[in-house]
Amino acid sequence: MSSTAITPAPVPLGRRIKRFMADRPLIPLIILLVILVVILQLLRPGIVNERWIANTIKFAIPLAILAGCQTMTMLTGGIDLSVGTVATMSAFIMATQVVNQDPAVAFLLAMMPAVLIGLVNGIGVGVFRVHPLIMTLGTSLIGTGCLQVYQRTVIASGAKIPDFLAWLGTGVTWGFPNALLLYVPLAGLIVFTLARTGFGRLLYAVGDNERATRLSGVRYWQVITALYITSSVLAGITGLLYIGLIKAPSLSLAEPLVLPSVAAAVIGGTSIFGGRGGYTGTIVGALILTVLTTLLTILQMPEGARRILFGLIVLFVTAAYLRIVEDK
């Protein structure tokens, strides 16, 4: 048994492919992305141009940030379904508060519920050990209720989109969407955190083997609480970016992004069981889903079919992942 795993004995092709997929999920993902773009170009010749690319990136960015929340929580074996509500809340509060308040104050007010929901999620999951899915679903329900109450208090004052957010959300400079100004550093930060900081390392380790981290002296609740607060704050920032893109505050603004954000992280190679994955795959996953959405729209695929497809993707990728892991 000692040397079975490392002998250079001939390995069946199937297993080699599996191992390759497990080690370098990025390459097949990028190939898939290119294939989708090519199909799109074939269906609608000329659609793929500079404007289309900028547009795709613009819409992919909010999805990619939320998928970042899912990536980080999924690394620990969790999930954060409250990101949609948090993003909506921060967007809505920003748009309504900026009418009477200084933008900086409005920003702080907008981020407050994000931090609070993240904290409650973290305590619920980390201390009380509620399943993250149930916990974040619950806080998202409460958050939506709060937002509805809040809406009635500000209904008279109206809402406006701060110019800066509109510029950031929709503007394009030299062919590059302005949102990249926010996104590139943010994505860099996430990648760096996951790869090069103690916190990132603990996320992987906790998701891989919680008992091992405990034996190494890690306190689970600390990691989980910090994680869910981070996730919520990221979702709050996404909300601000998204309102600049959509420009119409509503009470279900970011809700449609929740499902795809989970799917993007799963497609990107992050294991829903924790311990494996990374943010770069997720970014490509978000791009794939955005292109896929365009494709489905062109094919006049209804919303229902899209959801079914996302559900099946999550199920099949997870099952396939399980096989890859078990095969070793």
Partner: protein, 323 residues
């Protein structure tokens, strides 16, 4: 013995809580009468079925996140089939929808057993799929329900030999609920299958060693959950007269009522009575808040807080139990 008492004590306590809540309601609103009770029973109906669906799988040691989506799908299927159709056609629709729920539930179970993906992921994926399917069946709220179906849950049951004032407190909806649940639950509870469901939830290893077919039992538990969810979907269509493709807040409510009803999230414990009483308690709290003229949105928040608190409490108890 102490455990037995504790479990029964929990349900008794819930009943006491329910009675107290009724008294509170009467104090807040002296005019609270049989009519209001009837509407409470109607409001409870879909929740109660959602909770029953969740209870079965939780007892079997699992969880079903697709309950609400399953209700939405069955509801829109029933509503769209009955739209423009004759009254008699509904006689076919009802068993069809119930069978659909049963089969889709069994599909949940089969996927869990075959793919070995954890229940929570499978049912989450199914939540997406069923939601999508519901949208495909009906893009927007619509459809119709047969009149006799709607009549089945409105009004009261005239019981011969009883004065009308007593009759008035027996709404049809309550009767439908009791009959539907009992028809499935009581034979189940008495059968070896029912025991097996408790057994795999309580200790999968011990169940396996006792010769219980674990995989088959799990699939049946999910199928029964689908059946109850289909009843819930039908109840939705019956009470609203239409079908809505977007699922209501039944998932979290079902988990909360299951926990509040004394069914441990680890599985193997509890019964159906507790969660059903818990649903009445949760609904009555809502009624009271409304009667107190509290903003309905605030009511939603308070309800959400109660549910989250209950779920946290339940998880905490489970964690303690494991240690």
């Amino acid at each position: 013995m102490s455990h037995f008492l504790r479990r029964q004590g929990w349900v008794t306590g819930l009943f006491a809580l329910l009675i107290i809540l009724f008294i509170v309601t009467k104090v807040i609103q002296p005019g609270y009468g049989s009519g209001d009770f009837g509407s409470l029973a109607r409001a409870v109906l879909p929740y109660a079925f959602a909770v029953a669906a969740q209870t079965v799988v939780v007892i079997a040691g699992g969880i079903d996140l697709s309950v609400a989506a399953m209700m939405a799908l069955t509801s829109v299927t029933a509503a769209s089939m009955m739209a423009g159709a004759s009254e008699e056609y509904a006689l076919f629709v009802v068993p069809f929808v119930l069978a659909m729920g049963f089969v889709l539930g069994a599909l949940n179970g089969v996927l869990i057993v075959v793919t070995r993906v954890p229940d929570i992921v499978v049912t989450l994926a199914m939540l997406f799929v069923l939601q999508g399917a519901a949208l495909l069946v009906l893009g927007a709220p619509g459809g119709a329900a047969a009149e006799w179906l709607k009549a089945m849950i409105s009004g009261t049951v005239p019981i011969p030999g009883l004065p009308d004032s007593v009759d008035a407190w027996v709404p049809k909806a309550l009767l439908v609920l009791v009959v539907c649940l009992c028809v499935v639950w009581i034979p189940l509870r008495r059968s070896r299958l029912g025991l097996s469901i408790y057994a795999i939830g309580s200790s999968e290893l011990a169940a396996f060693r006792s010769g219980v077919p674990v995989a088959r039992t799990r699939i049946i538990a999910y199928a029964l959950s689908g059946l109850f969810a289909a009843m819930g979907g039908l109840a939705l269509t019956m009470s609203t007269g239409i079908g809505a493709p977007i699922p209501g807040p039944y998932l979290l409510a079902s988990v909360a009522a299951v926990v509040l009803g004394g069914v441990a999230l680890g599985g193997g414990k509890g019964g159906l009575l507790g969660p059903i009483v818990a649903v009445f308690v949760l609904r009555l709290v809502r009624t009271d808040l409304t009667l107190l003229a509290i903003d309905p949105n605030v009511t939603a928040i308070i309800e959400g807080l109660i549910m989250v608190a209950v779920v946290m409490f339940g998880a905490f108890i489970t964690m303690r139990g494991r240690q």
